[in-house]
Assembly symmetry: C2
Homo-oligomer: 359 residues x 2
């Protein structure tokens, strides 16, 4: 079992990572009220809901469950209202604990419900995808989508506790596991070359879900994200490094139609493109590019994007939030393990990179 | 012009109180982005919207307006969505400033929209009722109603600036002005007997809307609320004093049908009842009761509740949030200017008080 302590502005809390921790009521006890609502989706419910309901009920908690449909398209206002209605029907008050049991979609939606129900109720996050364990459950961002845009409505809200149980990864589809690995690799590339070397050494065993290595890896990623977030609550500076590969990645997701490429897959190819851009700018060489591609391939992720026209690429990138007032800002790699925010001197540097990935 | 500085957990900000301050762009300048959405209602818009739009536009701000229907029944999810939709249609981003121009209904709704649009955008509060100037614009509570309960969905969110322009009170119906005075009297009774004496001395001129006295009075109330909130962010302790008269008041509002008695009117009668309860408990005498009734009458507020049956009274009070796990908690007056939280020893003390107001 590994524990990462996160220092949030309002309070500090633990991320506990390990095997069988969802059976251990002692972990819940200090953070749970007399009444608790477990919110999950139809997929995750199959394996993990009943054991958790029983654990809590056996320990005297008045636990009830709320089951949402599965999918990003349900990270919306209807699911939110469904949660509010169930909470009210079950007489949930300000001390009722909300438990988010699922991947990032559940985590974001339930986190937002917890932030806003009666101006905020206690929240426990139980991330069950690799992506949510290493990324979305850290940092306090919660949100739902609006028909006009992803994550448009949301709040910053910190949980009382995060429990990442490695057992849950056993049922996770391989493709989803790999998608989570893209964010893991991102942490290495943006800020920790020693961690990159560690990943390179252990990637085969990690892909086999070696529990000891997984626990170390997840804890390391949570620690890195927590440190970055703590340094930059307002999202003006270093937190932007977390977007490494994401400007290109978002273009891929949008052009392919959302859901066809998983977010992590698009980010993986996007990181290769960010590396190529860094090479264009003279920061890294082809050896470094190869290292980036190798670790991405070893995680069963795409090391190259689909081919689009230059127009298609640029159209999506102009819409990206990081393209600030006409100036194109990218996260580039000064070196492996050393990301920086960069405003491109002119669009030709970018076009040179895109030409390699143009139909 | 009076200024009260409020120390919120996230940042500190000013409440500026005075005449003609809505014409002074210098007050806005440090706190407003390039783009601003002014949200108001159809009533307030008549007098105060166009001048503000012009002021901002003349100073180079890309200002647009969002007009909601008037009334507590519109402090809901539909109004919220209307705001979100207009913000998105106008390409509002994270730097767009939301300006709440209106009473507490507008302040609460727009405050909540600002808290949640893109996880939070800058907010300026322009309270235009006395109640919102002395109460709802201080403390960072924002909320909308849910069909199952008032203020059920909300967030804590602090503005960058509050501008309370005394000129706006000229158009406020007398009944609404008096309702605001109930909260003013509440501050005096719960925590400041010198302020009570000052009110007694000046009440006639205040009811005539003497601007100098109003500015002093509003600043004093904002300062008192800000101090109480700062001492007790989690609402476990002294902040409960702000509920003086409210347990009885809520019962009156509910039994009369919401909207028939204004909140402030119900609180005024509720404070008389709280004073009677304090007398029953041996804290204050009939001279103090008379002082309470006199200041309430001088503010053109009811000093006695409608008559209900004991059953009706108790039914509403059992639903009150402050009736915690069967124990009835009330805010009582140890003395004028000295409120305390009290768990009633038994229900008979309460029934004795109710018997005076029973049909
Ligand atoms: N809040 C943040 O900081 C942040 C950061 C990154 C991503 N996100 C959000 O996270 C979401 C993506 O999260 P995700 O990748 O976890 O997607 P997801 O929640 O949709 O989960 C992916 C799929 O795996 C299923 N699943 C979850 N756990 C499982 C398990 N243990 N076994 C079998 N199946 C399981 C889910 O039901 C779903 O079908 C996006 O909405 C994104 O916006 C948020
Ligand atoms: N957030 C908090 O801490 C807090 C505290 C107390 C009350 N509240 C909330 O505040 C709301 C009540 O606020 P309110 O009493 O200001 O009610 P309100 O906003 O409904 O205003 C009362 C009436 O006066 C009109 N009005 C507003 N300004 C005017 C002006 N200058 N001239 C003429 N008419 C004007 C309004 O359109 C409305 O018809 C409730 O929803 C309550 O829950 C919130
Ligand atoms: Zn990502
Ligand atoms: Zn009140």
């Amino acid at each position: 079992m590994q524990t990462v302590q996160v220092q949030a502005p309002s309070h500090s809390y633990d991320i506990v990572i390990g095997k069988n921790i969802l059976n251990d009521f002692n972990l819940f006890a200090p953070h749970i009220g007399k009444k608790a609502a477990i919110v999950t989706n139809t997929t995750v419910a199959q394996w993990y809901l009943q054991p958790l309901v029983k654990l809590l009920q056996n320990n005297g908690i008045d636990a009830f469950s709320i089951i949402l449909p599965d999918g990003e398209q349900h990270k919306n206002h209807e699911s939110l209202n469904h949660i509010y209605d169930s909470l009210l029907a079950n007489h949930a008050d300000r001390k009722t604990t909300l438990i988010a049991l699922g991947g990032g979609v559940i985590g974001d939606t339930v986190g937002y419900a917890a932030a806003t129900y009666q101006r905020g109720v206690p929240l426990i996050q139980i991330p069950t995808t690799l992506l949510s364990q290493v990324d979305s459950s850290v940092g306090g961002k919660t949100a739902i989508n609006h028909p006009r845009g992803k994550n448009m409505i949301g709040a910053f809200y910190q949980p009382k506790l995060v429990l990442a149980d490695l057992n849950t990864l056993a049922t996770l589809p391989e493709r989803e596991f790999s998608a989570g690995m893209a964010e893991v690799i991102k942490y290495a590339l943006l800020g920790d070359v020693a961690f990159l070397a560690w990943l390179e050494q252990h990637i085969a065993a990690i892909m086999q879900k070696d529990h000891t290595l997984l626990a170390q890896m997840i804890a390391h990623c949570c620690q890195m994200k927590a440190d970055i977030v703590a340094q930059d609550e307002t999202e003006q500076g270093i937190r932007a490094h977390l977007n490494l590969g994401h400007t290109f990645g978002h273009a891929i997701e949008a052009q392919m139609g959302y859901g066809n490429w998983l977010h992590g897959e698009a980010v993986a190819a996007g990181m290769v493109m960010a590396a190529e851009l860094s090479q264009q700018l003279g920061y890294i060489g082809s050896d470094e590019i190869e290292r980036v591609k190798n670790i991405i391939r070893a995680a069963h992720l795409p090391d190259t994007p689909p081919k689009f026209s230059e127009e298609e690429w640029l159209a999506h990138m102009r819409h990206d939030k990081k393209v600030d007032e006409g100036k194109m800002r990218f996260i580039t790699l000064k070196n492996l393990g050393a990301a920086q925010i960069e405003t491109l001197p002119d669009v030709n540097v970018l076009k040179n990179v895109l030409s390699k990935f143009t139909a």
